[in-house]
Symmetry: C2
Subunit: 165 residues, 2 copies
């Protein structure tokens, strides 16, 4: 889907019966999503801070652990982190010996990012913190409901994303 | 549910078969949720800016439109906005004649926040922008799937929230 031009946004009027009062705040998905993610990210930030970590580092480690060889730009999209913040984060991780940059074989101007063995060990230390927040979030939700939920999320991401991935 | 103490977060080890690589990034719900909400909020911020609005004002107007009489503290939770930001936002809205503060009848120290008629008209102007982003997010998702999705979100919010509402 192509990104929507800004001046498109007020051309299509809401359909009848779809005011916020009619939908109801507790049934308005963007409200629920922002409430959930505000709480989830704040809780996780607190848990990371007590382990001398921050959200950008955690996300960079997590993405590199499972999708090796991304560029800084791709990593910033995957990690939902401003590119300037991601650059600084990767420099700090590289200085700490957790990340290495490798020239792409087919295009020497492009640098691919990989975890070192130490970086992989650091992610092993971080994962239980992420996993605990994840389990708490989905406490009591059965596998079938979870699978349905994740399927809907994948379709929503397909609707809103601006990148091919 | 009581908030989790920070030092709880690394005590429970992940169960077997639940590494991030095994779950898969595209099946890890917090990743999908952050990707979706990052894009949704950025797109909405852009659409609001071209209408001389910002996210905090939009959320404050929306919540007051459907839940009148909240305190600033309650509004900041509903709107997922720092209390200091919410205070400044409400002052600006009050100066513009869109909001009024009313002493609570049962406790004169408490101020309840209400939209004025002008504030309600301003929300009518904002709603089509919100509605457009909402419809784009859920494009192609049928009512039954939507209902299931919202039900799961309500259960997740119950798991993570720190307030009774």
């Amino acid at each position: 889907m192509t990104p929507m031009a800004e001046n498109d946004t007020v051309q299509e009027p809401p359909v009848a019966g779809e005011t916020l009062g009619e939908i109801g705040l507790n049934n308005f998905a963007p409200y629920l999503l922002n409430r959930i993610m505000g709480r989830y990210n704040d809780d996780l930030t607190g848990a990371l801070r007590s382990n001398n970590l921050n959200t950008a580092k955690m996300r960079a480690l997590a993405v590199m652990a499972v999708v090796p060889g991304l560029t800084i730009n791709e990593l910033s999209v995957y990690a939902v982190t401003e590119q300037s913040t991601m650059s600084r984060t990767l420099e700090a991780l590289e200085t700490a010996g957790l990340v290495r940059r490798v020239e792409r074989a087919t295009d020497g101007r492009v640098r691919e990012m990989y975890l070192t063995d130490e970086g992989r060990a650091e992610f092993e230390r971080v994962w239980p913190i992420m996993w605990h927040s994840y389990r708490r979030m989905f406490d009591g939700i059965e596998p079938a409901e979870m699978q349905q939920f994740v399927g809907t999320l994948q379709r929503i991401l397909g609707n809103v994303r601006q990148n091919a991935f």
